[in-house]
């Protein structure tokens, strides 16, 4: 069942003369990680803003078509998704509440606003801190955190809600390799538990093995849609999309130098696949 649906959605920002989204029709299903992948300006971030109901309500602009979030139009009421959506952007410093004295309070901020009982807040906050591996930062002031610590804190402040829908825009941009792995594992576990995860990212190498589905956007339109193992391995993503993983790029570049069936599409997309083919 789809938790988020786009039906012929077009969107144009107020200051723009062209549509950022052009007749986008997509279903985002529960239990799946859908990865939005595209070059700069392709419309990935805008899909997330529209899904959350923030565009055009906050951003201004014109929306055509129908959007449904958990069976509702996200444009109709303020804060319709608060408590049910985990929304994370690439700039964690702008997602802080601005008033919490400690990381623990930062994570507990939204449940407190929603009026949860204090015992539920305590257990959910402790759980979210553990999940993101930041329990040792619980008493630190958010302003003193490093970029990676801050990003994990912000994700924890959404994980505390156990949201039904995750809308993620480059959620691991400030994290190191181990932090990225841990974070993507969290989203994998959330999807396996029944959440809908929509994730916009350029991190092809990591997401190739994490996402269930990749939607490649270009100039506001989905141009490719399928399993990452198929979409990323093919040639069309190089012509119509932003390219693929490093391993696929290497195989493709080598194939231009040496004509060999070992270097032809479909390309290997992970190191393991590359080793298996070229051994």
């Amino acid at each position: 069942m789809a938790d988020v649906t786009f039906d012929a959605v077009s969107f144009r920002y107020a200051a723009s003369t062209t549509d950022v989204l052009n007749g986008v029709s997509l279903d985002f299903r529960a239990g799946e990680i859908t990865w939005l992948f595209g070059p700069l300006g392709a419309g990935c971030t805008t899909v997330l803003l529209v899904a959350a109901g923030l565009a055009p309500r906050h951003t201004g602009g014109t929306l055509v078509g129908a959007v449904s979030l958990l069976g509702r139009d996200p444009q109709t009421t303020d804060s319709a998704g608060a408590g049910q959506i985990g929304f994370v952007t690439a700039t964690p410093e702008l997602q802080l509440s601005g008033i919490a004295a400690t990381v623990w309070e930062e994570v507990a901020f939204t449940p407190a606003n929603l009026g949860w009982p204090i015992e539920r807040i305590r257990s959910a906050t402790d759980r979210a801190l553990r999940l993101l591996g930041v329990e040792h930062l619980a008493h630190r002031e958010p302003r003193t955190l490093s970029g990676g610590e801050l990003q994990r804190t912000v994700i924890a402040s959404m994980a505390v809600l156990q949201p039904r829908v995750w809308l993620l825009d480059e959620p691991a941009s400030s994290l190191d390799q181990s932090g990225r792995v841990r974070t993507y594992q969290l989203f994998r576990a959330e999807a396996d538990a029944g959440a809908t995860v929509i994730l916009a990212s350029e991190d092809a190498d990591a997401l190739a093995t994490v996402a269930d589905r990749v939607v490649v956007l270009n100039e506001g339109r989905p141009v490719l849609d399928g399993a990452p193992g198929v979409v990323l391995a093919g040639e069309p993503i190089w012509d119509r999309g932003p390219g693929s993983t490093s391993v696929a790029g290497l195989a493709r570049a080598a194939g231009k130098l040496v004509a060999s069936p070992l270097l032809a599409a479909p390309y290997p997309i992970t190191v393991a696949e590359g080793i298996a083919r070229w051994r």
């Binding site: 803003l49 959350a52 923030l54 906050h58 951003t59 303020d78 804060s79 998704g81 608060a82 408590g83 959506i85 929304f87 952007t89 700039t91 702008l94 997602q95 802080l96 509440s97 601005g98 008033i99 919490a100 004295a101 400690t102 309070e105 507990a108 901020f109 939204t110 449940p111 407190a112 606003n113 929603l114 009026g115 949860w116 009982p117 204090i118 807040i121 002031e141 302003r143 402040s157 959404m158």
Partner: protein
């Protein structure tokens, strides 16, 4: 400037957050209600003693720094240019009424600024929000209030970084008035534009974090509201009402 929430041991820090706020508001009201000419000066003196006792004495020095240009201006405006009988003070001829008017205004500003700075230094955003939430008051106003106070140190940090960045790119911002004036635009513009560019994203984040949701916020760790706190707040209210009645009936303006 120290961030609100920075350690500031003393009575002010231990008191209920609404007591400090009540005191700052009461001083502001009293500054304009107490009888002149000596009321505002006594009030200022009282504020100085009070913030020192309460452990936020740095508010006194900062208050003087903030008020000094204003005091000089008031003295020049009223003392030298005022009418009525005059008195000689060395080479200066001062208007007696003007000097007294300047002292009254100086006392008012001194009291208000010192009390406000004392409140600022004792302010703990988290305790304040918890206190407001514990009373079941709406969150919107208190959030705006707290976030603004909390944002100030961060904004100053960023201003410092902006100055350093522009300096490494060759901007000269020290020297004469002209050089400083020329430096204002390249220093202020990135700061202001940067802050404006962030507004949308901050608004998105806050909406997703249920700031706009109505209803009662759960206090995470509500501060104790002691009998002493409540007595002080009621006494302040009584004092303000008494001063108001006095002002409306007989006290000189």
């Amino acid at each position: 400037m120290t961030a609100p929430g920075a350690p500031s041991p003393g009575l002010a820090r231990r008191a209920h957050p609404l007591t400090g706020l009540s005191a700052a508001i009461a001083v502001t009201a009293l500054a304009f209600l107490v009888p002149t000419p000596w009321g505002p000066l006594i009030l200022y003196g009282g504020c100085v003693v009070l913030v020192a006792i309460c452990g936020v004495g740095r508010a006194i020095r900062q208050g003087v720094i903030v008020c000094l240009p204003l005091w000089i201006f008031l003295f020049l405006l009223h003392g030298l240019l005022g009418g009525g009988p005059t008195r000689s003070l060395g080479p200066l001829t001062l208007s007696a009424d003007g000097t007294m008017a300047a002292l009254v205004q100086a006392g008012r500003f001194g009291a208000i600024i010192t009390a406000s700075l004392g409140f600022y230094h004792a302010f703990d955003p988290s305790r304040f929000l918890n206190a407001v939430a514990a009373r079941g008051w709406p969150m919107h106003f208190s959030y705006l209030f707290v976030a603004t106070l909390h944002a100030l140190p961060a904004f100053l940090d960023r201003a410092g970084a902006s100055i350093e960045a522009q300096r490494t790119r060759g901007l000269r911002y020290r020297g004469g008035v002209l050089a400083r004036a020329r430096a204002v635009v390249p220093l202020a513009l990135p700061l202001i534009l940067g802050a404006l560019a962030e507004v949308d994203e901050r608004a998105h984040a806050l909406e997703m974090r249920a700031v706009a949701v109505g209803g009662k916020r759960t206090p995470l760790d509500p501060p104790a509201d002691t009998l002493a706190d409540r007595t002080i707040r009621w006494s302040l209210l009584f004092l303000v009402l008494l001063a108001l009645v006095g002002r409306l009936t007989s006290w000189p303006m």
